[in-house]
């Protein structure tokens, strides 16, 4: 790791101001991605601004019928929260499927979505449940937040403060995990809220994406058979030692079918 200046922010505005004053600052949340990145010297920020002291970014509350999760809320807290599990079991299950207990004890929802790893789980929840991302300066709709591999709509220095999830009528998340890390080789979140159906896929492409053909079919008939015959093209999907683009395309249909079955 290269040397950097470390400081703990005392408030959201202090964090944003410190970031603005630095040439190259990075926010630190759980550190489960950033610290490995620093160790590999893939990044060399001059300043690290730790968000750990910001109580205003922590915790889960219900507001206007939506479940609002503070950016610094850990995966373990989301998984263990009855305020999440009771209205949106799919979201609690997703958080519980991330990495291992120690990663879940430290890693946060804000860090996960800001990082926008193509194999991360939370992007499927944000897009698949039609969530809204709150930042220090604005709100960003789920469909506009993830723009590319490791890229989001966040401006430099913009800080995620919370994510609000509307409560769906039903939803489920199914993932085919990498057996070592538990990152998604393919993960699919399916939800239905009244007339609206969302099918969001993570792990398969450079960034999370929706499958409109499956959404339309499910809007007519919310049953596993409705998506069993629908596949996505393998063109442009991710390729690595774990899975070929064709295999990932195949998994999208399988995981979508299982998610619909689980959503009941």
């Amino acid at each position: 790791m290269y040397e950097f200046n470390y400081r703990r922010a005392s408030s959201v505005s202090d964090a944003v101001a410190s970031s603005g004053q630095s040439d190259d600052a990075s926010y630190l949340a759980g550190g489960m991605t950033l610290i490995p990145v620093l160790k590999f010297r893939l990044a060399s920020p001059s300043d690290i601004i730790d968000l750990a002291g910001l109580g205003e970014l922590k915790g889960i509350r219900t507001e206007n019928g939506a479940v609002v999760v503070g950016a610094m809320t850990t995966h373990a807290e989301v998984a263990g929260s009855s305020e999440v599990r009771q209205p949106i079991p799919a979201l609690a299950d997703l958080a519980e499927s991330i990495g291992d207990p120690q990663v879940r004890n430290r890693g946060t929802i804000g860090g996960s979505i800001a990082n926008a790893d193509p194999a991360a789980d939370y992007p499927a929840a944000v897009v698949g449940l039609g969530a809204t991302v709150h930042t220090n300066s604005r709100t960003i709709g789920a469909d506009d937040f993830f723009t590319d591999m490791f890229e989001t709509a966040l401006e430099p220095g913009e800080l995620v403060t919370a994510v609000s999830f509307p409560v769906p009528d039903r939803a489920a998340y199914m993932k085919f995990p990498n057996p070592a890390s538990r990152y998604a080789i393919v993960g699919v979140m399916v939800s239905q809220s009244g007339e609206e159906v969302r099918v969001a896929v993570t792990g398969a492409g450079g960034s999370v994406f929706r499958v409109p053909e499956m959404e339309q079919a499910l809007a007519v008939n919310f049953a596993p058979e409705a998506v069993a015959g629908i596949s996505v093209s393998a063109d442009g999907l991710n390729e690595d030692i774990h899975a070929s683009p064709e295999y990932r395309a195949h998994l999208v249909t399988v995981m979508a079918r299982r998610a619909v079955a689980a959503a009941g």
Binding site: E3, G31, M32, P36, K39, P101, N105, R106
Partner: protein
């Protein structure tokens, strides 16, 4: 730039001058000379470095020492009392839950976090919990047995 980190380490208030980039595991091992906490991978995978921070198990190779400022940290050295092994340590010994022993401190610290969440974990839950702890020797069966036995000893 150096900074002063103050924490409660195994029940004692300690402080040290560290760089921003100093890892918690480096502080524990190199500065405080508590070498029971191991570094296996240094890439957040193996769990040999697991300690408790504010009551939760964490991978100390993936926490900055500065992040632990003000925290309560406990390591494997905090468990034995008056030369007597903690019931979880004794269970690992009795059930052949270790061979080379390199992964053991992390296994024990991780297991204690599990037992704090559930005093009577079943086999499937124990295996699932060990997702972040790698052992290259035992094949895990005896570790799972040890944790079940350790949990039972702690209940009685």
């Amino acid at each position: 730039m150096t900074l002063t980190v103050t924490m409660t380490l195994n029940g004692e208030s300690v402080s040290a001058e560290v760089e921003g980039r100093t890892l918690l595991v480096q502080l524990i091992r190199d500065h405080f000379r508590l070498t029971g906490t191991h570094v296996g991978c240094d890439t957040s995978q193996c769990g040999a470095c697991v300690v408790h921070m504010n009551g939760q198990s964490v991978k100390s190779c993936t926490v900055l020492a500065a992040q632990a400022d003000g925290a309560e940290v406990s390591t494997i050295e905090s468990l034995a009392e008056n030369g007597e092994l903690h019931p979880m340590q004794q269970a690992f010994k009795d059930n052949h839950g270790l061979q080379c022993g390199f992964c053991t401190p992390g296994m024990v610290m991780s297991a204690l976090d599990l037992v704090a969440n559930n005093p009577d974990p079943g086999e499937a839950e124990i295996r699932d919990w060990l997702e972040g702890n790698l052992c290259r020797c035992t094949g895990y069966h005896n570790i799972v047995k040890s944790i079940a036995a350790g949990a039972q000893a702690m209940r009685s």
